[in-house]
Subunit: 345 residues, 4 copies
């Protein structure tokens, strides 16, 4: 397909994004062209928009941003074997090498040579995107297209929840951003007997309740550790899912966890922090897991199963939707924290 | 405590049981005396009642039968440290040695020197029972006493379900006896995306539906394998829980399972049977697990968590209740198959 | 590359193979052409040679046989990215779809659409073979080329050994064919505290001793079960690796295994057999695993590590070598059972 | 048994120990009296001797110290069932409650109510010690009594090594104290393909080489991270066993580990330290494990298997032996760091 399309791009170093007109991408033999129908804004996109330290170190403009979407295949390359025009898809945007140790041992989400579309290559905040067949994910019949547009962050949540035993376990989720919120119904569907969430913003605490949290705590006003201990017979929770990257939340999580507990880290701390490994990790026999991306593609099958069976409903998480042209308004709301997921349609 | 009590006993080899008056058992230093308030009839009790081949080989009458109960501690031995009179308890009736390899490596449910009360020693079909402190299980506040009386078979179900991954998995349960039925809400609470049950008796198929099975199949009239394949996109289920011991069910299970699937055996086949290991196990990479008893005491914590959180409701499973004096009527209904769990109160 | 080459082919249904002259295969964009330097005869090749029931059902002649080799890349396709001419390689001969559930969840060795070269497509008993880049395995410096030629069966052995805990465990290997023999040094390197092998042929028992078995048993003359029990304090072994497919060996394995043991099946029984699931699997809590192929590519990294570190030495296993022209003599020796691995050079 | 015995005791707060004469302990019904034949000095004993901050917070003098020993049962209590006078034993000195969640789910090494003999109660630096039957470990025939005396620290090493996959893995051990040194032959026996150890003291680096380390590094003079990377193809090791508690070693370990690696912490840092969780844990998908004590009693069976099979030889680790009367000299050598294990006989 030839022609022009609109794309939301970082044209040069510095804050902001620009709506541009660019060539529709040409696909290679093993690729498909997808007409994007829905896009979602990720926390990473907010970092890029603000042009924070991480963005400055990682991005090489010019670049089309965005890595969460839902769309329809409109063209297929000559070597594509498993997809055809008209199919509805989302995609894993981590393009992996398939040759390194991680890729060849079932851990491609930790590929040593990964390229992330929307960060290292052109992404989906555009009318069309070119994608390798291997990274496509066919959207099952009956899945709400809104949910298909957020498989990327939903996958972060599912991957984190599923990184250890869940059934009958008690959970503390520290941080009520969209991934923390998405983790709530996943833990419940996965058999959690209790799900507590800490979050300083009232908007997000309310959203957490709507999504099924048994208890929400404002750690800026309440004694989070004492409350968690009180809710768990004085023992602390079996599992902490750290979704904030905030040093206070990490410390509270380590104080609120039971001996032999699982502490799964997805939130990215802005800088190094201090941990009392002796008291908080070694003596109590805690396991700390660094969690990254989504398992390729175990997590994706799990997402399908949770949504198709109706065990998880993400509808309340999608709080705003805008035309792509109104992206500034969308990013402003995202930056305010008074939102769940924001769609660009 | 001294005095007489009523007890339902196998007095000699042969079918049936006799209601007797015997001494209330004397407790040892590490034991407690429990006044039994509710008892439940197990399939094993039906075998003992009928005096089948297994019973003839295993039991050494005279013996008080029964191993499922709920009661109140009325006396404690001098060395008992963690319980007091008046506490409400149920118990693990496998008395283990705590010294063999299995006991010392977290697998006491496979103790090499186990004694089972109600089978190898006096059980709970009596007004009182003496039990070692180590085997007691304190019933949490808010648990329905009826449910506490069936922790033993509920534990079989939970142990079988939890013997591998559950979240987002599809399950086939072959056999709708009380344990198969109890497994239904457990699989659902543990994140199963689909639960199918096969059972020839209509009464039990109806009970399975009430307890939450997504689909029930009468394998005597319907093509069970074709139906399971149809419900799973042609692939078969991820997990089979074999709860019948019937060779046809085992064969159908092996035909209905996906490559790399888990096949967990709890039902006891009456005799050796034929398996095509090449086609049904080796080429498809199936794992077959022999499941026995309940994990001591991982499973018990899981039961508490599933019941206290309200994720599992066992109420419909308890279909009949009788005074202990009417035990003949109770056993007749149990033998008919037209029942779930039957309580003796 | 164009021209003719010699190839050992099954030209029509029936026993035997024929040395033919055929076109050197043309490679596609993602493929390489490998000049084969060493080939090895597998048990599967013996089945094909004899034209047994399995072969009659599976093979569609004409076909070049063979799936174990070592060679040098002599030509690369236009889309090949990670290999260059001159590199020394072996390969995984299971060509998988990369799209099915198994492939996308780290279990490509159980691909639902697998094509095996040398069985379903042209194999390596030829001067050249065309292979997809994705299936190549670079032979590390310092690896004996003879060993590189047998990564396929060595991988079966490693996969079977590594399918559960090994360190400090006691093993019984039933069957002393080349894979059973190869499993001996792998179990030892993997921390086994005792390795016993049963095998009826004296030649192979001797080879097993040379390869490090702590004890070899002739089950046709000795009481294998009693001996295994005697060597394990009466308990039986922790792990049985079944490498024969023989019903007597399977039964002896099930009698010789400890409660909670692992029973891994790699040998293919010729027909269905009878198992006492109640006594031999369910009550003792045994896990039976069907094992197939080699993990792609976890097992391959393990093979490299075991050989490069010198922890495993396969030299004694390679007992015969012939020019490819003398294939009849080679197959005769293979069929006699008086051999380890036989190379065609 | 009645009478007096010698015991090495902390009589009051402050440095040092005093050799005293005290009553031989009276045993209770479930206990045995052991005549201690060999004792070993632990790093913990050095802390107690020096009276460091940890000791000041934890110990309540007066107390007989010591928790590593080998001895002979000379008296048994009335309720002891599995041991008899004359048996040779060592023991797990963590006295656990058998009632808490950890104890009842196979993790008694993390008991919430543990009492450690030699720290919280009278230990083994005496002629006799009273011990509960449940904590005894029968020394298998053929085990060197010196090794039996150090099952406690050897168990720390085995527990740490065995806390994840080992076969074909590359290991970095940071810290060459006795436990770090003991871990070397364990990793090798457990299938490690490469074992590197960092240690600043020359004496201990030499000991590490004698015990089988493939490479030893002096991190005070060499670039440890660069060397480890160089030895592992630039990737870093699969597993770090942290045995020093030193912040520099922890940081070097985190820099030297491969993506998806296991970082097991046994060494106790003296105070909180700074970690870059984002770069060193989350992005690379690292798992950090706090390791404590020894698994009760999985680790003990593993120790028996490794020693009885001859796969591990601890002889070079035992570098000094003294009569108990010369304890000052023994502690001085221990404090110097120029020693492996020191026995008091």
């Amino acid at each position: 397909m030839q022609g022009k399309m609109k794309a939301l791009r970082k044209l040069e170093t510095g804050p902001g994004l620009v709506m541009c007109e660019v060539e529709i991408p040409r696909i290679q033999a093993g690729e498909v062209l997808v007409k994007v129908k829905k896009r979602a804004i990720c926390g990473t996109d907010l970092h890029i928009y603000k042009w924070d330290e991480w963005s400055q170190n990682r991005l090489r403009p010019p670049l089309t941003t965005g890595h969460e979407f839902y769309g329809e295949i409109v063209e297929i390359g000559s070597a594509v074997r498993h997809y055809r025009v008209g199919e509805l898809v989302t995609a894993e945007m981590h393009i992996v090498c398939n040759q390194c140790f991680q890729c060849r041992t079932g851990n491609a989400h930790l590929c040593e040579n990964v390229v992330i579309l929307g960060v290292d290559g052109d992404g989906c905040f555009a009318e069309y995107i070119a994608l390798p067949e291997s990274n496509l994910w066919r959207v099952p019949a009956g899945i709400n297209p809104d949910f298909a547009a957020i498989y990327d962050p939903f996958g972060n949540a599912v991957h984190t929840v599923m990184a250890g035993p869940t059934v009958g376990k008690t959970f503390l989720i520290t941080g009520g951003g969209p991934i923390g919120i998405a983790a709530i119904p996943v833990t419940k569907a996965a058999g959690a007997s209790l799900v507590i969430l800490t979050e300083v913003q009232e908007y997000r605490r309310n959203l957490a309740k709507t999504m099924g949290a048994d208890q929400v705590i404002d750690p800026s006003k309440e004694d989070a550790v004492a409350l968690v201990k009180g809710l768990t017979g004085g023992q602390g929770v079996d599992v902490v899912l750290e979704m904030s990257g905030h040093p206070v939340a990490i410390d509270q999580g380590l104080q609120s966890i039971r001996k032999n507990g699982r502490f799964s880290l997805l939130g990215i701390p802005a800088k190094p922090l201090t941990i009392d490994l002796a008291k908080q990790v070694i003596f109590p026999g805690i396991t700390i897991q660094g969690i990254n991306g989504r398992r390729m593609y175990d997590t994706w099958f799990q997402m399908d199963a949770l949504l198709v069976s109706g065990k998880v409903d993400l509808a309340p998480l999608i709080t705003h939707r805008f035309p792509m042209a109104d992206f500034k308004q969308a990013f402003d709301i995202g930056l305010s924290g008074n939102s769940g997921k924001i769609l660009l349609e």
